[in-house]
């Protein structure tokens, strides 16, 4: 792996050599530092065991599982409609997006498809949860770097999106709105107009964040060139989502696979960045929020009339079989491998959540960086603890 532009490790070795020149006989012994499970930077219960030399990281081991809730096992004792309430809580900032791939997998097994209007609404809610999720990331990024104002702006504007989600589904954080074969309800009156105004507000929020944070010289100097993930390394570690796109891989499941969703019906763009550093990851996410607002606006304009539910039996039994459906969630690729034996509930569900795989690169990535950069890099990788520990 050292062949693949492994700049950080090389830099560490080099700086060790440089150190040796300066202090030949004054070798210091290392320090083992536990960052987490209760640490302000991990926004959750992640533990990172780091061995330090001065302020430089020599070796890192992430240790997760402090919040493991056993969702894969729990799904086996739930019926299919009940599972959505569980998977809602995996990535708790973008809950609706967690429901969609599971429902799609169940529908795939049953051989049914939601009506066109339901597909549109699903896509709108999916993108709204992406906006709610990533806009909070943009604010939180500032906090991690020591600027506290952006997060309050993010909370302010995310509130509008949450209000929208609440208006349509009745739940702000855990909508539990998706049903096999369609949706629970149609949209309330006036919701579409409200959505249009909110999308404008969110775009203004993006501009504000770009001015306040991304344009800041200190921010740039702290993120540019920090935590570089080369393209090949990113692919080897199975990264996905914006983290992968920031490494220059043009890969987006919304565009690259055909699902019964409405993404292929609107005009939007997949953003990539060639640098692969922390700044690139943040920048790609910022662009994605903008892109999402565009998607939502177009879908709102073209939403077809019709029912939101197909005919499904009152007691849902999924025929025997196996299905894998993944979608491009706010954090990256999220998929469910559902095995059914014809019962009321799934026989086995394997959940592939994005953060878990994105996190697995940290031992490689954090080697040779400074203590403050741990925070920057972790923030820019953007994980949600529920998404790691499930």
């Amino acid at each position: 792996m050292t062949l693949l532009g492994d700049r950080q490790q090389l830099s560490y070795i080099a700086s060790q050599a440089a150190d040796a020149r300066v202090n030949l006989e004054l070798e210091t012994e290392g320090m083992t530092l536990n960052i987490g499970p209760q640490h302000p930077a991990t926004h959750g219960t992640l533990r990172i065991i780091a061995r330090l030399d001065g302020e430089q990281v020599v070796w890192v081991d992430p240790s997760c599982g402090y919040m493991h809730r056993g969702y894969e096992k729990l799904t086996e004792v739930r019926t299919y409609p009940q599972v959505t309430a569980l998977v809602n809580r995996i990535d708790w900032l973008g809950s609706f997006a967690n429901e969609v791939p599971f429902i799609l997998a169940a529908e795939k097994l049953m051989g049914i498809e939601a009506p066109l209007r339901a597909q549109h609404i699903r896509t709108i809610l999916f993108e709204l949860s992406r906006i709610a999720n990533v806009s909070l990331f943009l604010g939180d990024l500032g906090v991690q770097l020591g600027a506290i104002t952006p997060v309050f702006m993010a909370f302010r504007d995310r509130e509008y999106v949450l209000n929208l989600i609440e208006g349509a589904t009745g739940g702000r954080f855990h909508p539990n709105f998706d049903r096999i074969g369609g949706l629970k309800d149609d949209l309330p009156a006036g919701w579409l107009d409200e959505t249009r105004t909110v999308m404008k507000k969110l775009r203004r929020f993006c501009d504000e964040i770009e001015d306040l944070l991304f344009g800041n010289e200190i921010f740039q100097s702290r993120t540019r060139g920090i935590g570089v993930i080369p393209r090949d390394i990113a692919l080897q570690y199975g990264m996905s989502g914006a983290n992968l796109r920031a490494s220059g891989v043009d890969w987006d499941l919304r565009r690259d696979q055909s699902l019964p969703m409405a993404w292929d019906k609107v005009d939007w763009k997949v953003w990539t960045h060639p640098d692969g550093d922390s700044f690139a990851r943040c920048w790609v996410r910022l662009q994605e929020v903008r892109e999402s607002t565009r998607i939502v606006e177009q879908l709102v304009d073209t939403i077809p009339a019709g029912p939101v539910m197909t005919k499904v039996p009152r007691i849902i039994k999924v025929p025997e079989g196996e299905a894998w459906v993944c979608t491009e969630n706010p954090l990256g690729e999220m998929g469910y491998y559902v095995v059914s034996q014809g019962d009321l509930g799934p026989f086995r569900v394997k959940i592939r959540s994005a953060s878990f795989n994105n996190m697995s690169i940290t031992p490689w990535l954090l080697k040779g960086v400074y203590v403050p950069d741990i925070v920057t890099i972790l923030a820019s990788l953007y994980f949600i603890l529920g998404d790691i520990d499930r």
């Binding site: 700086s15 440089a18 150190d19 020149r21 300066v22 202090n23 004054l26 210091t28 012994e29 290392g30 320090m31 083992t32 530092l33 536990n34 960052i35 987490g36 499970p37 209760q38 640490h39 533990r47 030399d53 001065g54 302020e55 430089q56």
Partner: protein, 121 residues
């Protein structure tokens, strides 16, 4: 005893007052607050897990190098301040002298810089 020392004496009184107020606050607090230490509470903080190794691990030599450099520049200040107050008195001669002095200092800084000491690893 002159006016010169008198002003310092006021400062000493003031410092003493600050010290007394500080201990008074702590004293009042000691009377009011509960005191129920358990071994868990007295553990040093390490993000919610039991601390690993010794709290006093060695720190980088670099911090020390900066401290040494600082001493040089602080000593420089000792020379600069008296000269700055009496600038007119020493005139051109003083200026040249000071320029030479500062030049030597800058050379020292250049040396440290070149040596890579100012780089923070």
């Amino acid at each position: 005893m002159s006016e010169f020392l008198r002003s310092y004496l006021v400062v000493v009184w003031f410092g003493l007052a600050a010290f007394l107020v500080g201990s008074l606050l702590l004293g009042i607090s000691a009377l009011l607050r509960p005191n129920n230490p358990t071994s868990e509470k007295l553990l040093s903080y390490e993000s919610g897990v039991d601390p690993v190794g010794d709290g006093w691990s060695q720190s980088q030599i670099r911090y020390y190098v900066f401290a040494l450099l600082f001493v040089i520049f602080d000593v420089e200040a000792v020379f600069i301040f008296p000269w700055a107050t009496q600038l007119e008195r020493y005139g051109g001669f003083g200026l040249v002298e000071m320029a030479v002095f500062v030049a030597v200092l800058v050379l020292g800084l250049v040396y440290a810089w070149r040596k890579g000491v100012l780089r923070w690893v």
